[in-house]
Amino acid sequence: MNWLRRASSGPLWKEEFSVHAADERYVTRRQLTKFLVLTSFGMFVGNIWILVRSLFYKAPSYPQQPVARLGEIPVGGVKLFTYPTKEDQCIMVRTGENEYVSYSQKCTHLSCAVYYSEASNRLECPCHQGFFSIKDGAVLQGPPSRPLPRILLETRGEQVVAVDVKAG
């Protein structure tokens, strides 16, 4: 079966602008099909871009940064800080006598700032009611589809130090 059109003997304008009103429906449909196929090509290029980014991905290295003194916040208390850059807001919660957890404060849905709800012991996003587990940042409810990135903490002497970021 031959899928290609036969080479036309007429001029190009005849193909694109039909002089017969009835043929106009063919021209418009063919042009819409061409547009759809170009869109499909765009989607393919988008996937290639993601593939290239994945292949050349280098895991970033994060600085070690003291974020609080031990006992600075009470159990159930919260401290905000920035890590790893000044633009990345994070939230740290003291969940037990010697337990601290920390997450990026940026909701994985549309980047609103999440806050800690002590009453329900979870992180909540006020924009679209997205709730995250305080244990591991997993999505409990709402539109976010990815967990919150976790900031790994270590206790060194009297300091709580942020050492790494684990993507959600």
């Binding site: 196929v37 989607m43 993507a167």
Partner: protein, 87 residues
């Protein structure tokens, strides 16, 4: 009322039906491709780097099918219109 079978239709109407069928197929493939792109992006942002290759391969296959359907539509269009002019 009886339904007209495609064989009894005049060639011009039949051509339009064939093109509409091909276009609907392209539209369905396009929706799948959009979904594939958003799922691949979501997975990439979540730190999973293994989904990008299969997603790209599937997207490429779907693009090739769309391209094939476009060439088919193009051929049907030129043949039907040419046959109309020859008559």
């Amino acid at each position: 009322m009886t339904m007209q079978s495609p064989i009894d239709m005049p060639p011009k109407t039949r051509g339009l039906t064939v093109i509409a069928g091909a276009m609907s197929l392209i539209a369905v493939l396009l929706i799948v491709q959009i979904w594939l792109l958003s799922a691949a992006l979501e997975s990439f942002l979540a730190g999973n780097r293994h989904t990008a290759l299969p997603a790209t391969v599937f997207s490429g296959v779907m693009f090739l099918i769309c391209l094939g359907l476009y060439l088919f539509v193009d051929r049907v269009d030129s043949e039907v219109r040419r046959s109309g002019e020859e008559r």
